[in-house]
């Protein structure tokens, strides 16, 4: 397989993380909404496996964001716990844990980009 451009990969991951953050925001906002099922994006590995195809941005269930045309599939998560009478499947603790994961991954992403950007600049200096 071809080597991958690091900045492009980092850009793709940051878009995925941002979409995941939006899904988490939707879950937390709807924690008390009757009948609301918690949603999450597909795993990043699946997105990478799909990169050969052109992402469709107008299919239902895709969160597409304007200029980037990067759309990732979100779907209602499977829920194995006890179903509340209100049929709401959001567990706040899980959402906050996922938010923590997003944050860590995002920090790593920006740190890597910053480091390689600095390296490139220093290579062409002088």
């Amino acid at each position: 397989m071809e080597p991958v451009n690091l900045f492009d990969l980092a850009m793709r991951q940051s878009q995925w993380l941002a979409v995941r953050q939006t899904a988490i925001a939707g879950n937390v906002a709807n924690v008390n909404t009757p009948g609301y099922l918690a949603r999450d994006v597909e795993p990043f590995e699946k997105v990478l496996d799909r990169t050969g195809t052109v992402p469709g941005s107008t299919q239902p269930g895709h969160m597409g964001f304007g200029a980037t045309e990067a759309s990732f599939r979100t779907q209602a998560q499977e829920y194995n716990g006890a179903i509340l009478p209100s049929k709401n499947t959001v567990v706040i603790e899980n959402e906050l844990m996922k938010a923590g994961e997003v944050r860590r991954a995002f920090e790593m992403n920006t740190a890597i980009v910053r480091a390689f950007h600095g390296m490139l600049l220093s290579v062409s200096k002088g």
């Binding site: 397989m1 991958v4 900045f7 850009m11 940051s14 964001f65 062409s124």
Partner: protein, 102 residues
């Protein structure tokens, strides 16, 4: 699964252009292809600068995706710095040649 990440491909624009320069060619053809490569590098960095500027204008108006602006600006920085370094080397090489006694 991903193949190995090619760190050397970080600046695809510049790297691919300078790598297509075949310095092993002799005579006037070498000069033409090198000049072509330089021209491509220069226009590549101008394109990236224009793109970064356009996105920044949109960002100032409030319309742009944050990460895209950041990426475009950093990319422009990289190509610009590389282009400037190349230009400086060319200028100093030219000056050195012009000082050579015949």
């Amino acid at each position: 699964m991903l193949g190995p990440v090619g760190a050397l491909r970080l600046t695809p624009a510049l790297a691919s252009q300078t790598s297509t320069t075949s310095l092993s060619q002799s005579g006037t053809t070498a000069g033409a292809s090198f000049a072509d490569a330089l021209a491509k590098a220069a226009s590549g960095s101008v394109d990236k600068l224009e793109n970064a500027e356009a996105l920044s204008v949109e960002a100032l108006k409030g319309n742009a995706d944050t990460r895209q602006v950041v990426d475009a600006v950093m990319s422009a920085q990289q190509t610009l710095q590389a282009a400037v370094a190349i230009r400086d080397k060319i200028v100093s090489a030219y000056l050195e040649i012009s000082r050579m006694s015949i």
